[in-house]
Amino acid sequence: MSRARTIRNNLMQAVFSVAGWVAIVFIALIFVFTFKETGPVLDAQHMRAFFLTDPPVWQPTSEIPKLSLIPIILGTLKATVVGLLFACPVGVAAALFTSEFASPRLREIIKPVIELLAGIPSVVMGFFALVILATWLQNAFGLTYRLNAINAGLALGFALVPIIFTISEDGLAAVPRSYREASYALGASNFQTAWNVVLPAAAPAVFASFVLAFGRAVGETMILLMAGGNAAITSISLLDPLRTLSATIAAEMGEVVVGSEHYATLFFMGTLLFAITFVSNTFGQWVIRRMRVRMQGAA
């Protein structure tokens, strides 16, 4: 009897550890493959072409290929910044409202609805931004370009709100009741308690949500491919169209001659995306750990 149990136990353990290792191996293989394909452009000459060419222009198929990544990195940053500027306040405010002020019944409505927003496929979000949001923004503000950083960033923001909301709300709900009671006992109002006590106590979770949202924003493809206009312009204006790293890979990979300089450059962009999300996640983990330690030390 107990022997059968031991066997079953070991078997299940083996299955789970294989599953775990498979995931790790896949990630490693993807990274190795991506990195390998960038090989031909990993030299000083190409790095100069990517980052230091003046004027910075992305025209990979012209007679003299121009391979500056500056306009595309700038486009990625613009979309990400607008998306986060919109989604962070909205997501955190919605989480604060849901966990601190909403009645239990209202909470049961708001939570699933916002989480449903996460289930909307990004191609649908992109289509909405392309057809409706762009026209609306253009008519409301008399913009020259229908497809611009604001339009793309807002659409991206819609996709980021549920990420920020869900994780922040979990963090806020996990703050012990005793914190709130102590605050009320000192005569603080509802709002003062939420803003000055509960929110700071949940700061690691809120920050974690921002980091995850940043990673999603940098990698998001379809929304920006559809709503961003895809013009690789070196401009910091939020009213100009933009082209992101991910959208460039999606638009050009299908056509490119395998093994060419252009092909390797697209893989370099992929490696860059990989590196950005890796660094941001690692940094995020580090900050969260520090915050937790400080919070527990103070408590």
Binding site: V57, W58, T144, R146, A231, I233, A251, E255, V257
Partner: protein, 292 residues
């Protein structure tokens, strides 16, 4: 959407054909059945997707049991697929380069056959409310290179020009760059969209927009008359494409290996018959007979 529906119909017909095939051995005709079950794979120019689909649909009706799959992706994508063997027939809105022809010969072991199947006029489109009626090739070049930036510089209202174009994988992009921009670069401000239909939609919604694409797609936008150097402005129409006076007309091609199986060559030869050319007109292109 339409493409997805056609693909799924095709998949269904593959399944049905496969079921039919299983019953074939009883009649002793299995070899024939399995041969006709191999789908005819057509790939290439986004401009030619509709044309290829109509032709394939009609051809399948006439040849039950034959399955043809038509995909877009761009002329270059189709040619690459012909080279690496994933497509039997490439549709291209530009002529194949010599290097590409050599690669086909190398990988397929036979020369490539070039078959013009239709004529297309490349339209320069603006919003219907735009007061500009015609432009010279030189003016169009300056616009798409970002040297002319306001409609008032070319006789229109005082509003900035918003540029729409195609991805660099597109044959239309190549044709336009070669014949209008003299192989020089587009302005970086050109917003690149996926397919001529997307360009047309964008211009339909943008008063200040200008873009280019196959004339068959022109709906709810206006195609400008184009003036070649030393000529008169000519609007694109069957007559002006036929007599060669419209400056931006081009041939649309089928490419396949000379040693391709019969299902490929038979389809290609059928596509230039009067029956098939009637379909070309229906889709909105111009039949070859108009030049000959």
């Amino acid at each position: 959407m339409k493409q997805a529906r056609i693909v799924s119909t095709l998949l269904l017909s593959v399944l049905l054909a496969a079921c039919g095939g299983r019953e074939q051995p009883a009649t002793g005709e299995r070899p024939r059945a399995s041969r006709s079950n191999k789908p005819l794979s057509i790939k290439g120019s986004d401009t030619m997707v509709i044309l290829g689909q109509r032709l394939a649909e009609e051809y399948m009706k006439k040849n039950p049991g034959l399955v043809a799959q038509v995909n877009g992706g761009g002329s270059g994508t189709g040619i690459a697929a012909l080279i690496n063997g994933t497509a039997d027939l490439a549709q291209s809105s530009r002529e194949m380069k010599d290097g590409e022809k050599e690669k086909v010969a190398q990988s397929r072991g036979a020369a490539v056959v070039e078959l013009p199947v239709a004529l297309d006029a490349l339209g320069v489109f603006v919003h219907q409310s735009n007061s500009v009626q015609h432009l010279t090739i030189a003016q169009i070049k300056d616009i798409f290179q970002g040297k002319t930036t306001n409609w008032s510089q070319i006789g229109g209202a005082g509003a900035p020009i918003v540029l729409y174009g195609r991805e660099n994988s597109s044959g239309t992009y190549d044709y336009f760059r070669e014949h209008v921009l003299n192989k020089e670069d587009f302005a970086t401000r050109v917003q690149t969209l996926q397919g001529t239909a997307a360009v047309i939609n964008a211009i339909g919604a943008d008063k200040n927009g200008i873009g280019y694409g196959g004339i068959a797609y022109a709906k709810e936008v206006r195609a400008l008359a184009v003036q070649a150097e030393g000529g008169q402005p000519v609007a694109p129409s069957e007559a002006t494409v036929a007599d060669g006076t419209y400056p931006l007309s081009r041939k649309l091609f089928f490419y396949y290996a000379a040693n391709a199986p019969e299902r490929v060559t038979a389809f290609a030869q059928w596509s230039v018959t009067p029956e098939a050319q009637a379909l070309v007109t229906k889709v909105g292109y111009f039949p070859l007979t108009t030049v000959q």
